[in-house]
Symmetry: C2
């Protein structure tokens, strides 16, 4: 991260299926200002860029204009760092290949870089959070899906095509649950927030165990409900976390054999379920790890402040943008 | 690779459980001379180093002495690049942590680097073989075990502790075959040469299919016998390759989700079984790959000359040794 006192700020923007959040960030990771728009309300990409700029330009002006901005970082599903494009993102309104970084550069006159949301989170963690000083770590984001950002030798791993690090789509059970990607048994069908809700529905049918979760209509159960039940000592809810944590820990033990990271950092709602999920994850790593790696890789929680995490992660990429 | 015309040669040495092979290599990958000793005959490490030097020094003198040697590269099981050590290698006679690179540096006065054998193969392939010009690839060595060397952004991945890249010990079936590492279902229990022989013994018991392999005492069957039978059209032998290739292809599809490599390069006896193994591997990759990676990663065979491959691979590390 290069801090130029002439240009002390960056813009961070996180594009989600529902909301697009953006803000101005300083070199210490303070979000000075932020705003948002609804992603789905802008089916035309030009109109979407205009809508963002309409709200973003006043924020930029408030800190002294574009000459104070070092760069802009964008985190987006299916974001390709090499091309600055969003490519065939199933949950966004724009189809095909969208040259979004170039569009913002042209509109705002700010050098812009783009990557996928989990990679942005990894860079954010390295710049402002739990991964400061780490050169080898894996970021796992546990949200609606499971994402990952892999850092090796202090560099984010993009792969030859810009799409490396889809660890949520490592197949962990070839006869497992159908996944949105069209295959079966991907890690994210078990260890995402939606995976946890799916497990709850399965367990409620398979067992006759009394549970607070039986008071909720099955199709409405969310991972937050499982957490709330676990806090009250609900046996079935605790079993769901045990099951989820074991599957994630087994997968992490395999990932460690790839890059032998100093740490694995967990991010997202599920990671906040505390010991209910962390204990079974750690236990499964310990039981499944190859001996030479035993006890070496730390399991950490994200240190990015919750409300700001998405903007912060993306903004960190803004420090690394190369000016033409 | 830096070629210094004052120092136009490197030494390569490969330490195997049975043989230790070493030789002098020029910048084009020609092995100018080589020799070997039996690894197991030297239980004392000092005596082992002496025995290597006794045969290696004359080879060095024949090309003009140590002043003509840029560096020495050593490939060894459980080799740690960061420390130049061999650490707790189960199949070598020396126990604990052996500072082998330092021992050769002191004895020969040549800067020496050491890594595990699969990493050495990856560097060899990048310097002299199928990976020339590639910045992102995975080398898979199919021998008695399954090893791997991972290259990302043109750099070998060593991980935070020097032991990254044990893809032969990724668990692909949690209730699978017992592995020498003490766990169950590691990739190498299926896709190594010994794994293929194990599959042959299982298939012979499970099926009543006539097979040329039934003429060989079960415990003596080797992967070469399966190949020979396959060449003669033996149905059971072909099924064994189908089974092995499918498991390897499924695992490779998962590995691609990690680093999105431009190529996967296969090395070792089993890789030479041609279409018998390559076709099922490719089919399983195609059937199990996440859509964004489909058709992008090439499956290549090693281009290192067979007899020289071990020495060549290790020697390539000699070009990269830093002189103090």
């Amino acid at each position: 991260m290069t801090i130029n006192m002439e240009k002390p700020y960056v813009v961070g923007m996180d594009i989600g299926g529902t909301n697009t959040v953006f803000g101005i960030v300083d070199s210490r990771g303070n979000v000075l200002s932020s705003d948002s728009i609804k992603t789905q309300q802008h089916e035309d990409i030009d109109e979407y860029v205009d809508a963002v700029c309409k709200k973003l330009i006043p924020l930029i002006q408030a800190v002294g204009g574009t000459e104070k901005i070092k760069g802009m970082g964008v985190g987006a599903p299916n974001g390709n760092f090499y091309n600055g494009t969003i490519e065939f993102a199933p949950n966004l309104p724009w189809k095909g290949v969208i040259p979004l970084a170039a569009m913002f550069e042209e509109k705002l006159g700010i050098p812009t870089a783009l990557t996928n949301d989990a990679n942005a989170a990894a860079i954010g963690e390295m710049t402002y959070g739990a991964a400061r000083g780490l050169k080898d770590f894996i970021m796992i984001t546990l949200g609606t899906g499971v994402g990952s950002g892999i850092v090796i030798n202090g560099q984010l791993v993009y792969g030859h095509d810009g799409f490396a690090g889809e660890l949520g789509h490592v197949i962990i059970d070839r006869n497992g649950r159908p996944c949105g990607c069209g295959r079966k048994g991907c890690l994210e069908t078990y260890c995402s927030a939606t995976g946890v809700a799916r497990t709850a529905r399965e367990f409620l049918v398979q067992s006759t165990e009394p549970s607070l979760l039986r008071n909720i209509p099955s199709e409405e159960i969310a991972s937050k409900d499982v957490y709330d039940a676990a806090v009250k000592g609900d046996k079935l809810a605790l079993d769901i976390f045990e099951y989820t944590g074991r599957i994630l820990g087994e997968a992490l033990a395999n990932f460690i054999a790839f890059s032998s990271p100093e740490a694995i950092i967990l991010f997202g709602g599920l990671a906040k379920s505390g010991d209910y999920i962390m204990k079974p994850i750690k236990k499964a790593i310990d039981e499944n790890i190859l001996k030479i790696y035993a006890g070496k890789t730390k399991l950490l929680l994200s240190q990015l402040k919750d409300a700001d995490a998405a903007v912060l992660g993306a903004s960190a990429l803004g420090w690394e943008v190369k000016e033409d």
